[in-house]
């Protein structure tokens, strides 16, 4: 009886083993497919790794180029402002001279009027011709007005140069984004074995991220926002005044 049971167990186990071998036969092709897939994929992953490494290496250069743009525009803007300063000084000088000339003319006309009675031997035609050369028809005022307008236009040029500050902030925001991408790529690459990531300092390229910026800075008409700001400011100071009044009454 015991022998029969042992035999039965043996046949059961042999049957199980047979199933295992059958499974093995089924699994082998699948495993082979997986191996083939890995074999094809690994070179692809290596390509991706190399590509990411190359791109990460270029990022500091891109950031550096952007910083150079900001520096170049700052230099150019400074040069423009230098010329604007010179123009403004020239305009003020001319206006001052014009004022002096106007005063001198008025004085000359006055003296001529006083002289006229003593000039009875001078032909009238000549006297009239001489008088006609005094500045009349508000010419001095017109000229001063033109120079005043010039000054306003020069000032508007100055204000337009605010674009340099605003674009510098926009570029700084881009740089910040680039640096964030680089950090992320570096983090990803660190998971690959033997990743050869060059740190920005190793490339001797300065990556600046120290300039503070407003990522929402933009060069456009912001009068509506200014109006809203003015309302907030006025409301703030009105309510602050009201608080002080209330405090007084509370005492």
């Amino acid at each position: 009886m015991k022998t029969a049971t042992n035999l039965s167990d043996l046949f059961t186990k042999l049957n199980d083993l047979k199933h295992v071998f059958k499974y093995g036969e089924m699994l082998i092709p699948i495993i082979q497919n997986i191996i083939d897939f890995m074999r094809e994929t690994v070179p692809l992953l290596e390509n991706i790794n190399n590509s990411i490494t190359d791109t990460a290496a270029k990022i500091p250069k891109a950031a550096n180029q952007i910083q150079k743009v900001t520096s170049a525009t700052e230099v150019a803007t400074t040069e423009i402002l230098d010329v604007v300063d010179e123009l403004t000084n020239d305009v003020f000088t001319v206006m001052s001279l014009l004022e002096n000339i106007t005063k001198a003319e008025a004085e000359r006309e006055k003296i001529f009027t006083e002289l006229k009675p003593y000039l009875d031997k001078v032909p009238l035609e000549l006297l009239n011709k001489f008088e006609s050369f005094f500045m009349k028809d508000n010419n001095p005022e017109k000229i001063q007005s033109i120079f005043a307008n010039m000054n306003d236009k020069i000032y508007r040029i100055t204000l337009s140069l605010q674009v340099q500050d605003i674009t510098a902030q926009q570029l700084a925001a881009v740089n910040h984004l680039i640096e964030s991408v680089q950090e992320r790529l570096t983090s990803l690459l660190s998971h690959f074995e033997n990743a050869n990531i060059k740190e920005p300092t190793a490339l001797n390229i300065e990556v600046t991220g120290t300039v503070s910026f407003d990522p929402n800075a933009r060069y456009e008409d912001r009068q509506e926002e200014q109006n809203s700001a003015d309302i907030l400011v006025n409301e703030h100071f009105v309510s602050a005044s009201q608080d002080e009044i209330d405090k007084l009454f509370a005492i």
């Binding site: 400074t78 204000l159 140069l161 300039v211 407003d214 929402n216 200014q226 809203s228 400011v233």
Partner: protein
């Protein structure tokens, strides 16, 4: 009233623009600072400075932090402060007002706005 301005901005261009604007209004005395820390040092060292015009976004110490530092300083706490910044959202403006700036200009500013805000501040003083 003779005003000596402290102009605080990390942009050389913006400092010149503000100074040119003030010269256009007839003001003649200016001190410049590149960030809030340098500004506070200069403010405490010069008793003649009586008006501060500051940007917000700056390295080291921002314009907002500068404002708070000025207001908490007994010697210079009452000095008028005008914030000139690209930040235009309501929360920022309220935050600046809570820090006790006297007025607020959004960049890029228009020709008359600087005079308008300075006059408002002086009138309220």
């Amino acid at each position: 009233m003779s005003l000596k301005f402290l102009i605080v901005d990390d942009s050389v261009t913006m400092r010149r623009i503000v100074i040119n604007s003030l010269k256009n209004l007839g003001y003649l005395e200016f001190v410049e600072a590149n960030d809030g820390k340098e500004a506070l040092d200069k403010l405490l060292a010069d008793d003649n400075i009586n008006f501060v015009i500051t940007d917000w976004n700056m390295p080291v110490v921002s314009g907002l932090e500068l404002t708070k530092s000025i207001r908490s300083n007994e010697k210079v706490g009452k000095i008028p402060i005008l914030m000139v910044t690209t930040r235009g959202i309501k929360e920022d403006i309220l935050e600046a007002l809570q820090a006790k700036v006297n007025n607020y200009i959004i960049k890029p500013f228009t020709p008359n706005i600087l005079k308008e805000k300075i006059d408002q501040i002086l009138a309220a003083a």
